[in-house]
C-alpha cells in the first residue's frame, strides 16, 4: 500500500501546485492572505513529494518488483546504497528527484520569505508552483514512476553498471540542486516583471539564491567530471559532450548572474540585464533537461529515450521560456533603469565579465545545438568536437582571465585603473616568474602552455593581491596585518577564494594538457612497464565474484620515482543481470598528480594495459571545490554593505565582525 500512498501523495502535490499557480496569479494583489495560503501550499507540496519519494525508496530497498520502476532498474542482490541511489538512476525517478528539489526550494522561500512584500512572495510562489505543476504533471502523465507490474517478476533487471557507483548518490542531487535552484531566481524575475516593481531589496533576495544554486552547480559539475574521469575508463575529465555543455551553460550564465546581481544589489544598476540573466539561466537548465531526456543525445545520461516525452518536454520548454521572454518583452520597458557609472569602475568590470561570460554561453550553445539542428533539418551529421570548443572558449576566457584580477581592486562608480594596476604589479611579477620557472622545469611541449600557466598564476596571485593590499602585509607590523586580514568582511574573502580557485583550475588544466604522458601496452603477470619514472609491475591476475558481478582483477605494484611503492587494483566487471561490462580504473594520487591505470580487453594470452600519468590533474577539481567553498562562505556573510557615490582613495579597513 505504501507505493499507492506515494502515488496519491505525488498527485495531491500536483493538484495543490496547479491550483496554487492559478490562484496565485489571479489574487496576487489581494494582500497578505493569499501569500500565507501559498506559503502553506509550498510547504505541503514539499511534504507530499517527500512522502512520494520515500515510498519509491522503500520499494527499491525492499526489492518490491511489483513497482515497474524497481523491476526495471533494481536487483535484489545490489548493495543497499545502490538500491537507494538507483531510485534516481533512471528517467522517472530522476524526475521525482528534480521535483523534490524544486518543492524543497519552494518551501525554503515560503519559510524564509515571511518578511518579503506579500505581493512579491505570492508571485514567486505562484511561479514556483506553476513549475512544480508542469514538471509533476509531465512526470505523472508521461513517465509515471508509480506504474505497477503484476505479477511481480522474481528478479529485477538491475541498474546500468556504470551507474552503480557512489557518484550516482552524489552527482545528480548536487547538480539538480544547482539547476533547480535557479528556478527561484527565475520565479523572482517573473514576479518582478508581473508586478513591475524591482528594487535593491529584490536583488538582495535573489543574490543568495543565485549563490546557493551556483555553489551546488559548481560542486555537481566537478563531481560529474571526476566521476566520468574515473569511471568511464578513458581518463578524460571533460569531453565537451552536449550533456556536459548542458550543465556548463547554466553555470556560465549563473556566474554572470551572480556578478550582475552584485551590481544591482550594491549600485541599483543593471536591473533589466539581471532579470534577463535570471530567465536565461533557468531556461538553459531546462534546455539541458530537454537535451538529456528527449533522446536527441545518446550518452550515459540518456535513460529510456522516448520521442513522445521529448515532444512534451519541448512543449513545456517552449511555454516556460517563451512565456517568460514574452513577459520580458512586454514589461521590461516599464521597469526603471538604475544608477549611472563611469566605464572604468567596479560596475564596468562586472559588465565586462558579463559580456565575456554571455558570449561564452553563446559559443557553447552554438557548438552544442548547431550539429543537432543541422542533423534535424538537413540530415547531415557533423560533429563539433573539442578543437572548436577549446579554440573559441579558450579565446573568450583568456582576456576575461587577464582582466579578472583588476575587478575586485576597482572602486564602485568611478575608479582609477592605474592605481589598481600598481597594486597588481607584485602579483604580475610573481606570476611571470612562476610561469617561466615551471615551463623551464617541465619542458613546454605545446606552445600555449607557458601562456596558460601565466594566466593561471596571474589569476591566482591577483586574487590574493586584494587580500594583501587590504591587510597591508609588509607595510605595517605583522600582527596588525593579521588583525586586518581576519577583520575583512567574508564577502572579500569569498571573492578572493573563488577567483583563486579559478586560477588553480586553470593551472590544473594547462598542466595536464601540456605534460600528460600515456602508455598503451600489453602486459602479462610478472612483467613491468615504465612511464614518466613510475615503474608498474603486473603482479597477478584473478577472477573473483562480487555481490552482483564477476570481476577480472589485475593487481599491480607501482614504484614512484622516489622509490615509494604502492599497490593498485584495476578490474573489469561483468554484471550478471545485464551482462554488461564495466572497467574500474586504478588511480593513485601523488601530491597533486595522479597515476591512472586501466586494465583493457584481454587479448589471446595477454592483457592490454593503459597507463596515464596526469600531472597536477587534481588541481582542476580542487579549484572547483575552492569556488564552491567561497560560495558557502559568501552565503554566511549577511552584512549589508553600502554603495556610496565615491569611495575615498585610501580604503579604510572594516571593523572586525
Amino acid at each position: 500500500m505504501s507505493i499507492e500512498l506515494g502515488h496519491f501523495a505525488l498527485i495531491l502535490a500536483f493538484a495543490i501546485a496547479a491550483i496554487s499557480a492559478v490562484g496565485g496569479f489571479v489574487f496576487w494583489r489581494s494582500g497578505q492572505r493569499i501569500a500565507l495560503v501559498l506559503s502553506q501550499g509550498a510547504v505541503l507540496q514539499f511534504i507530499l513529494v517527500a512522502v512520494a519519494f520515500a515510498a519509491l525508496i522503500q520499494a527499491f530497498v525492499t526489492s518490491d518488483f511489483s513497482l515497474l520502476l524497481a523491476a526495471s532498474h533494481s536487483h535484489s542482490l545490489k548493495p543497499l546504497i545502490f538500491k537507494i541511489s538507483g531510485v534516481w538512476g533512471n528517467h522517472e525517478g530522476s524526475m521525482v528527484l528534480w521535483i523534490s528539489i524544486l518543492v524543497a526550494f519552494g518551501a525554503m522561500v515560503a519559510t524564509f520569505g515571511r518578511r518579503l512584500p506579500s505581493d512579491l512572495l505570492a508571485l514567486v510562489l505562484a511561479t514556483q508552483s506553476l513549475l512544480t505543476a508542469a514538471f509533476a504533471g509531465f512526470t505523472i502523465f508521461t513517465s509515471n514512476p508509480f506504474a505497477r507490474l503484476i505479477p511481480a517478476p522474481i528478479e529485477g533487471n538491475d541498474l546500468n553498471p556504470v551507474l552503480q557507483d557512489i557518484g550516482l548518490a552524489i552527482h545528480p542531487p548536487l547538480l539538480y540542486a544547482g539547476y533547480v535552484g535557479f528556478s527561484i531566481c527565475f520565479s523572482f524575475a517573473v514576479a518582478a516583471l508581473v508586478s513591475g516593481r524591482i528594487d535593491q531589496a529584490w536583488a538582495r533576495w535573489v543574490r543568495p539564491w543565485a549563490m546557493l544554486s551556483w555553489t551546488f552547480l559548481t560542486l555537481g559539475i566537478a563531481m560529474g567530471s571526476y566521476w566520468a574521469y574515473y569511471e568511464l575508463g578513458w581518463g578524460g575529465w571533460w569531453f565537451w559532450d552536449p550533456v556536459e555543455n548542458a550543465s556548463f551553460m547554466p553555470w556560465l550564465a549563473g556566474t554572470a548572474l551572480l556578478h550582475s546581481a552584485l551590481v544591482m544589489e550594491k549600485r541599483n544598476a543593471l536591473k533589466i540585464w539581471t532579470i534577463f540573466l535570471s530567465i536565461i539561466t533557468f531556461s538553459l537548465s531546462l534546455l539541458g533537461t530537454f537535451l538529456v531526456r528527449s533522446g536527441i543525445l545518446t550518452s550515459v545520461h540518456t535513460f529510456a529515450s522516448d520521442p513522445t516525452r521529448g515532444l512534451v518536454i519541448l512543449t513545456l520548454l517552449a511555454l516556460v521560456i517563451g512565456g517568460a521572454f514574452a513577459l520580458f518583452a512586454f514589461r521590461a520597458a516599464a521597469l526603471r533603469q538604475g544608477g549611472l557609472f563611469a566605464p572604468v569602475s567596479r560596475e564596468g568590470a562586472l559588465i565586462l565579465n558579463n559580456l565575456f561570460l554571455a558570449t561564452a554561453v553563446g559559443a557553447v550553445l552554438v557548438g552544442t545545438l548547431y550539429p543537432l539542428l543541422l542533423d534535424a533539418l538537413t540530415g547531415t551529421t557533423i560533429s563539433v568536437g573539442a578543437p572548436f570548443f577549446n579554440l573559441t572558449f579558450g579565446a573568450l576566457m583568456a582576456p576575461l582571465l587577464l582582466v579578472l584580477p583588476f575587478g575586485p581592486l576597482l572602486a564602485w562608480k568611478r575608479a582609477d585603473i592605474v592605481a589598481a594596476a600598481q597594486r597588481l604589479i607584485g602579483a604580475a611579477a610573481l606570476a611571470i616568474f612562476a610561469a617561466i620557472l615551471i615551463s623551464a622545469l617541465g619542458g613546454a611541449t605545446i606552445s600555449l602552455a607557458p601562456i596558460g600557466l601565466l594566466l593561471g598564476f596571474w589569476v591566482a596571485f591577483g586574487a590574493i593581491a586584494e587580500l594583501v593590499d587590504r591587510s597591508k602585509i609588509g607595510r605595517i607590523p605583522l600582527g596588525e596585518s593579521w588583525r586586518r586580514l581576519t577583520g575583512l568582511p567574508r564577502s572579500a574573502w569569498s571573492t578572493a577564494i573563488a577567483h583563486f580557485g579559478i586560477g588553480i583550475t586553470v593551472l590544473g588544466i594547462v598542466a595536464v594538457s601540456a605534460w600528460e604522458t600515456e602508455l598503451v601496452t600489453t602486459l602479462n603477470p610478472g612483467e613491468t612497464a615504465e612511464l614518466s619514472g613510475y615503474i608498474v609491475a603486473f603482479d597477478s591476475f584473478d577472477s573473483v565474484e562480487g555481490p552482483n558481478y564477476l570481476s577480472d582483477e589485475g593487481h599491480f605494484t607501482v614504484t614512484a620515482p622516489g622509490g615509494e611503492t604502492r599497490q593498485m587494483l584495476a578490474d573489469r566487471r561483468t554484471y550478471v543481470a545485464s551482462g554488461m561490462p564495466t572497467t574500474e580504473a586504478a588511480i593513485q594520487t601523488y601530491g597533486f598528480s595522479q597515476l591512472y591505470l586501466q586494465l583493457g580487453e584481454p587479448l589471446d594470452d595477454t592483457h592490454v594495459v593503459r597507463i596515464w600519468h596526469k600531472p597536477y590533474i587534481t588541481l582542476i577539481w580542487l579549484g572547483a571545490l575552492l569556488m564552491a567553498f567561497a560560495g558557502f562562505l559568501s552565503l554566511t556573510d549577511r552584512k549589508l554593505r553600502v554603495g556610496a557615490p565615491r569611495r575615498a582613495a585610501k580604503p579604510v579597513p572594516q571593523a572586525a565582525q
Binding site: 507505493i3 496519491f8 498527485i11 494582500g31 507530499l48 516593481r197 553600502v642
Partner: protein, 361 residues
C-alpha cells in the same frame, strides 16, 4: 478500503492546513507592506552614517548618498500606493473553490492512474509464491510417477517431452518422443522434434538416426520447412555438401519471402555449393581493394572519425597488408593524439602486432 481512508485523511489534513493558513480568525489582518523596504533603507542610512563617521565618505558625498536614498524611497512609496489593494479580493468563496478544485483534481487523477487495490509485494513476502510457481522439477517428478503407473498416457508424454529438452535431459526427451510416436503415430513435427533431441544429445549414431528421421519427415510432408532446415544444416555441418545442396534448394523454394531464416539458408547453400569455402572472386577482391583505397584517400584528405580510422586499419589487416595498416594507424594517432579517443583502435593494433606508442617499450 484502508487505502482510501488514509488518502481521504491526508487530503483533509492538507485542506485544513491551507484553510487555517489564511487565518480567517484574525480580523482582516493588514500586512505592513512596506515594512521590509523601510528596514532595508534604515540599514542603508545607518551604513552611510557609519561610513561618514569612519572617514570613508566626505560630508558632500554622504549628503548626495542620502539624497539618492530619499528619491528611491519616494519613488517606491508612490508605486506601493498604486499597487496596494488594487487586485481581486481573495475571499472565503475563492478559498473554498480552490480547495474543492484541489480535492477534485487529486482524486480524479488518482482514480484514473492509480491501482488502489494492489498490495505491495516486497521480495521477502514474495519468495514463497515464487517457489511454488517455479518448482519445475517437482512437477516433472509428479508426471513421471503418473507415467510409470500408466505408460500409455499420451498427454503426459506430450507435456513432459519439451520439458525434458528445456532441462537438458535429451536422452529422456528422445525416449518420450519415441513413446509419443509409438502411441499416436508419426507426424513430421514429432519426427523433427525427436531428431532435434537426438542431435542435442550428440553422438555419430544418433546423428545418422536423426538424418533418417528428418528425411522421413521431409518425404512425408512436402511443405515441411523445419525438418528440411535441420537436415540441410546437419548435412552441411558434416561436410556432406553434395547431399546438402538439394535440401537447401528445396527449403529455399518453400520460402514465402519474409521468413527470418532465409538469409542463413542462402548462406548455407552458398557454402555447400562452393564445397565449404566462401572465397571472394577476383572481381570482389578488386572491389574491396577499391573501397579501402577510397576510404584511405578520403581519410587522408579530409580526416574522419576514429571509427573510420579503425575500419581502415582493420581492412588493411584483413587484406594482409600490415605495412599499410601500420601507416594508417600512425596517421590515426596523429589525428587523435589522446589515447582515450582510441580505445578499440589501440586494442586492434596491439592484437595485430602493430607498433604503438612510437616504439614498443
Amino acid at each position: 478500503m484502508l487505502f482510501w481512508f488514509i488518502a481521504i485523511a491526508v487530503t483533509a489534513i492538507a485542506c485544513a492546513a491551507l484553510y487555517y493558513a489564511a487565518g480567517w480568525r484574525m480580523v482582516n489582518a493588514v500586512a505592513p507592506e512596506s515594512d521590509d523596504a523601510n528596514s532595508h533603507f534604515r540599514l542603508v542610512l545607518a551604513g552611510i552614517d557609519a561610513d561618514l563617521a569612519a572617514g570613508k565618505l566626505g560630508e558632500d558625498e554622504a549628503t548626495a548618498a542620502r539624497g539618492e536614498l530619499a528619491r528611491e524611497i519616494l519613488r517606491l512609496k508612490s508605486e506601493a500606493n498604486r499597487v496596494a489593494g488594487s487586485g481581486l479580493a481573495f475571499g472565503r468563496a475563492a478559498m473554498f473553490g480552490g480547495l474543492v478544485l484541489v480535492v477534485g483534481l487529486a482524486f480524479a487523477v488518482y482514480a484514473w492512474l492509480g491501482s488502489p487495490d494492489l498490495p505491495s509485494q516486497p521480495l521477502a513476502g514474495r519468495s514463497e509464491v515464487a517457489a511454488q510457481q517455479l518448482d519445475l522439477e517437482s512437477a516433472i517428478a509428479r508426471i513421471e510417477t503418473q507415467l510409470t503407473a500408466n505408460p500409455d498416457d499420451l498427454r503426459g508424454w506430450t507435456v513432459i517431452a519439451p520439458a525434458y529438452v528445456e532441462m537438458g535431459r535429451y536422452a529422456d526427451a528422445a525416449r518420450a518422443y519415441r513413446r509419443i510416436i509409438e502411441l499416436g503415430g508419426p507426424t513430421a513435427d514429432l519426427q523433427t522434434s525427436l531428431a532435434e533431441a537426438l542431435l542435442l544429445g550428440g553422438g555419430d549414431a544418433a546423428a545418422e538416426e536423426a538424418i533418417g528421421l528428418l528425411r522421413a519427415a521431409a518425404d512425408a510432408d512436402a511443405g515441411h520447412t523445419m525438418s528440411r532446415l535441420y537436415l540441410a544444416s546437419v548435412l552441411t555441418g558434416m561436410e556432406r555438401y553434395e547431399e546438402a545442396v538439394p535440401v537447401w534448394t528445396a527449403v529455399l523454394a518453400l520460402a514465402q519471402g519474409d521468413e527470418p531464416w532465409i538469409a542463413s539458408a542462402r548462406q548455407g547453400l552458398a557454402v555447400a555449393e562452393s564445397g565449404g569455402v566462401v572465397a571472394p572472386s577476383d572481381q570482389e577482391a578488386e572491389m574491396i581493394g577499391q573501397m579501402v583505397a577510397g576510404l584511405a584517400e578520403r581519410l587522408a584528405a579530409e580526416g574522419g572519425s576514429i571509427a573510420e580510422w579503425t575500419q581502415l586499419v582493420r581492412a588493411y589487416l584483413v587484406l594482409g597488408d600490415t605495412d599499410s595498416a601500420q601507416a594508417a594507424y600512425d596517421d590515426a594517432v596523429a589525428a587523435y593524439p589522446q589515447a582515450f579517443d582510441r580505445g578499440d583502435l589501440d586494442t586492434l593494433a596491439l592484437g595485430a602486432g602493430l607498433t604503438i606508442n612510437g616504439a614498443q617499450p
